[in-house]
């Protein structure tokens, strides 16, 4: 859909930025909102495309509104609610709110006000207009599968690569990549990354012609290596962020000083009374156990952090040590690539405990251990 892509300068000059929220903080809010949509989606048995669509709505919404004006968890619920209807997997608004309540601390849930359902329903119309009714959103998943079908080589390795790329696509939702590049390009870049990390070298593919140097030249034009590396780094950066960065949550955490105005539309959240300092990064509390409202995940645990690959200096090793093969890779191969129409790449957020819990640290102290790891998996459609 034209009109929904932004350059880096525009991403740094968002309504939130103009509202005094610094870039790092905004990126964290976006990440938290995206994670929350994904987590809520999983809890409610919604498919990956519904969650992904909701996340894209969320990112687009905040290109027109400030996080100070619209509390992110309310917006996130509304995005998932709308995505459910659009993707024909509708969930009742009150059920989404119920699930959200279970996932959020009381403090965060307070941003929903006295009538949470009304809050979300009112936002629906604003959301629709903000995203200009561009409801159909494409995601990289379908392209990933389409491209994988054309690649030749060891089938087990190819499957591993596709699963890893699928994971990266999931995680990319927590970045603003969907606001920067078309899904085709993100799919290519993350397959390229997965190929490097799983040491799957694509040397031949169906439809190859003499003028093709790289397999993706069959599908996308003018994609430079610099661009691919930039996209990969944006995803890899997620894994290198420390949990302490998610500590602070100014707009929603500060005590509410003034009652909100009667209009539920343009309700300024408390952040307006306690502006975030635009100049200072959020305080680091790496040695202090996070308070109870710290998001119940850290970004290092989305997937196993990819191992450093010798001879591929483009990507530095993530700060935390990782096992050579991320745990989700241990899932049985989904089947030979010609049938890749439905490889079951595991949705890694859910069913894998973090691979790199520091020894001796009790679960839940400063890394995320899902309390009851659900065994649901995020499968692509058949």
């Amino acid at each position: 859909m034209p009109g929904w892509y932004y350059d880096k300068k525009e991403l740094k000059n968002t309504p939130s930025a103009q509202d005094g929220i610094d870039y790092q903080t905004e990126m964290r809010y976006r990440k938290e909102g995206a994670r929350f949509i994904i987590d809520t989606g999983i809890k409610m048995d919604l498919g990956y495309s519904t969650s992904a669509t909701g996340v894209v709505y969320f990112h687009r919404f905040y290109m027109f509104h400030s996080f100070k004006q619209f509390p992110r968890y309310v917006t996130a619920c509304c995005c998932l609610f709308l995505a459910g209807k659009v993707e024909e997997t509708p969930k009742k608004c009150k059920d989404i709110i119920k699930t959200a309540r279970g996932l959020l601390t009381d403090q965060k849930f307070n941003t929903f006000g006295d009538d949470p359902k009304e809050e979300v329903m009112t936002l629906e119309r604003i959301l629709l207009q903000t995203i200009k009714f561009d409801l159909q959103v494409e995601h990289p998943y379908a392209y990933l599968l389409k491209y994988a079908k054309c690649l030749k080589g060891d089938k087990v390795k190819l499957n591993k690569m596709v699963q890893m790329a699928w994971t990266f696509v999931n995680d990319s939702l927590c970045t603003t990549l969907a606001l920067q590049w078309e899904p085709e390009i993100i799919a290519v870049a993350l397959m390229y990354l997965a190929g490097k990390l799983s040491q799957f070298d694509v040397i031949d593919w169906t439809g190859r012609t003499a003028k093709h140097l790289r397999w993706w030249e069959m599908f996308v034009e003018d994609v430079t290596m610099d661009l691919l590396e930039d996209i990969c780094h944006q995803v890899l950066d997620l894994y290198s962020q420390t949990p302490s960065q998610s500590n602070e949550s100014p707009p929603q955490n500060q005590p509410r000083l003034n009652p909100p105005p009667s209009s539920s539309v343009a309700r300024p959240s408390n952040g307006q009374n306690n502006p975030v300092s635009p100049d200072q990064p959020p305080p680091m509390h790496s040695s202090i156990p996070p308070p109870s409202d710290v998001p119940t995940y850290i970004y290092g645990t989305f997937t196993g952090a990819p191992p450093p690959v010798p001879g591929f200096p483009g990507f530095s090793a993530p700060p935390m040590s990782a096992p050579p093969v991320p745990p989700h890779m241990a899932a049985p191969p989904p089947g030979p690539p010609p049938n890749i129409a439905a490889p079951p790449p595991v949705f890694p957020f859910v069913n894998h405990p973090p691979p790199f819990a520091p020894p001796g640290v009790p679960p839940g102290a400063n890394y995320y251990q899902p309390p009851n790891p659900p065994h649901r998996q995020f499968y692509p459609p058949p």
Binding site: K85, P90, M121, Q129, K132, F133, L135, Q136
Partner: protein, 312 residues
């Protein structure tokens, strides 16, 4: 229906605001206004859609259809009318008024035919037909059935190009049709619709067949006065379908009830200036059995469109 408010404002970041100029028409689907975008002075067509809100907000079907309209729009197909904006109007507890803002095209194929009493030459007819089929093929490839093709919703631009309008929001139309007593024209309806059978994209091809004949004859092909009369009119002209072609399931109207009609039609409307190739294509479009009917894409590849233009 009184046109009470003359201002429709869209409080979004685009800041568009529309001033209603006149009512273009109101039909089964609702009302269409001619309006002016106060910011750009552009004249637009506002289609007023009344959305019944449910306990869970805007219904899923409405969202799906609007999403589809927006998606189609992104393709910028030359034979499809542009959707410029969507904005909200008045809202009550149970209803939300929305305005779909389309580009405004002054004339439709009906008025275009009226303004050209001496008719069109074969090249003009071929071009108009091709453009109609192009637009419809595009809708069909996006799994949209127009269902109400007629000269009145085929717009003709000042330079003579076709733009399809009034597609989508089909379910909304249906809903409204039951509530209003507006007479919807039957003249372009396919037999399967008249027989109350399930239908799909072939219904649009039937309508185009009727419209192409109208381009030659400057008068509608089948002018029935009721659903039964419409079928009788069709069968008299084209011949009654064979008993084997008559649908077996879910049909309340018996083949026997048309026994008095001959199996070969009068073909009154196919003499004159319709050449043999054109006639062959039209007959394939007016095939009784929707399965055997030519598709829009196949029609575009018919000799009628691919042969060297001969002349006139």
């Amino acid at each position: 229906m009184a046109d009470r408010s003359s201002h429709f404002s869209a409080p979004d970041q685009t800041g568009h605001e529309y001033e209603s100029l006149s009512r273009i028409g109101s039909g089964a689907y609702g009302t269409v206004y001619k309006a002016k975008d106060k910011r750009t002075n552009r004249v637009v067509a506002l289609k007023k859609v009344c959305v019944a809100l449910t306990e869970d907000g805007i219904p899923m079907n409405t969202l799906r259809e609007i999403g589809l309209l927006k998606q189609l729009n992104a393709h910028e197909h030359p034979n499809i009318v542009r959707l410029l904006d969507i904005c909200y109007g008045h809202r009550t507890g149970k209803e939300l008024i929305m305005y779909l803002v389309f580009e405004h095209v002054e004339q439709d194929l009906g008025s275009y035919i009226e303004r050209n009493p001496r008719g069109f030459n074969t090249i003009q007819i071929k071009n108009l037909s091709r453009e109609i089929l192009n637009g419809v093929d595009f809708l069909h490839s996006n799994r949209i059935v127009h269902r109400d093709l007629k000269p009145q919703n085929l717009l003709v631009t000042f330079d003579g190009h076709i733009k399809l309008a009034d597609f989508g929001l089909a379910k909304t139309y249906d809903f409204d049709m039951k509530l209003t007593s507006v007479v919807v024209t039957l003249w372009y309806r396919a037999p399967e619709v008249l027989l109350g059978l399930p239908y799909a994209t072939p219904v649009d091809v039937w309508s185009i067949g009727c419209i192409i004949v109208e381009l030659y004859n400057l008068t509608p092909l089948f002018c029935g006065t009721s659903e039964g009369d419409q079928l009788t009119t069709i069968f008299r002209e084209l011949g009654r379908p064979s008993e084997t072609d008559w649908p077996k399931d879910n049909i309340s109207i018996k083949w026997e009830s048309f026994r008095s009609i001959d199996s070969t039609g009068y073909m009154h409307n196919f003499s004159g200036n319709i050449c043999e190739t054109a006639k062959d294509l039209i007959m394939r479009m007016l095939t009784f059995d929707p399965i055997k009917r030519i598709s829009a894409m196949e029609a575009l590849n018919h000799t009628y469109f691919t042969e060297e233009p001969i002349n006139t």
